[in-house]
């Protein structure tokens, strides 16, 4: 049976502890993929998958991924929110894996908001 190797997990632990010792800051960016039923049915998992692979390939360690539920704009799904610390959150609509890769490379890594895909700026207010 396929068993996770303890030695592989130990290697990751040592690598991450070494990285943490070198790094001064903590998280710089939080990317939230909205993962309600509507989001999943529209392709949110594939978007999250593309984001995870980009993070893996780029080797960055200051980007944190979160998921959230439906925010009520089901027809605009998949929705992704990018929050760079100290800046207002940007919500992207109709995201697909290709758009996600572009958002990651241009916005998350270089700080350039991808205006054609933007739904809104700022956080939603729940009344």
């Amino acid at each position: 049976m396929a068993k996770l190797k303890i030695s592989d997990l130990k290697k990751i632990k040592e690598k991450v502890h070494a990285e943490t010792a070198l790094r001064e800051g903590d998280r710089r960016v939080r990317v939230t993929v909205h993962m309600g039923t509507c989001g999943i049915a529209s392709g949110a998992r594939e978007v999250l998958d593309a984001l995870m692979r980009e993070i893996e390939e780029s080797g960055v360690s200051d980007v944190v991924i979160t998921t959230s539920g439906c925010m009520g704009l089901c027809s605009r799904e998949p929705l992704v929110t990018v929050e760079i610390i100290g800046q207002e959150p940007i919500k992207y609509e109709y995201v697909n894996p290709n758009k996600m890769r572009q958002i990651f490379k241009r916005h998350v890594l270089e700080g350039e908001v991808q205006t054609p895909f933007v739904l809104a700026r700022g956080a939603e207010i729940v009344k």
Partner: protein, 182 residues
């Protein structure tokens, strides 16, 4: 939903939002009985009797931002159109358990799809929640338990990209080994 793995992600995400600490996902492929059974059990806050009674009503939801709740009705419909069944048990403070049984080789059964991607998405988005994924194919069995992985990682976050890659590869390898027909 195009794949059963999308349903699994959707239902397990609901479980995490219900405050669950551990979510157990079990898939059983029984070729002799021609049955594929999905069971999701959590230790979240559970549903009241009224919520449980209306859980399959697509126009009922506990959410405030919209007026429909399609996750459970779509899963129940997907199971029933393959000659299967759907059951839901829940009580306040005691968590929720659902079981969806499908005709394994029924023409209308959705493909299982990319289960590894769903599991990795769940772990990435909910690094503090534990997931126990058990997949049986007749006598063969694959088990992934994030509690064991967490113990070995000693403080390294579960959603670290190296950990997620290892889990993704392990699930794919495990399902191939047990000969999943999903």
């Amino acid at each position: 939903m195009l794949e059963l793995s999308h349903h699994i992600l959707d239902i397990a995400e609901n479980a995490t939002r219900a405050g669950s600490k551990t979510v157990r996902i079990t898939l059983t492929e029984d070729t002799g009985r021609d049955r594929l059974t999905l069971e999701v059990a959590d230790d979240g806050r559970g549903m009241s009797a009224e919520e449980r009674g209306r859980a399959l009503d697509p126009f009922f939801t506990t959410k405030k931002v919209r007026r429909v709740g399609l996750g459970l009705p779509m899963l129940a419909d997907a199971a029933e159109r393959t000659g299967g069944t759907f059951t839901l048990e829940s009580a306040p403070g005691r968590g929720t358990r659902l079981e969806a049984a499908f005709g394994l080789r029924h023409l209308d059964r959705q493909p299982l799809g990319d289960v590894a991607a769903s599991l990795v998405s769940l772990i990435a988005g909910n690094p503090d929640v534990d997931f126990v994924y058990r997949h049986r194919h007749d006598a063969a069995e694959y088990v992934l338990d994030t509690r064991e992985i967490r113990q070995e990682l000693d403080g390294v976050p579960m959603n670290h990209s190296d950990v997620l890659k290892l889990i993704r590869d392990n699930i794919a390898e495990g399902l191939e080994e047990i000969g999943s027909e999903g």
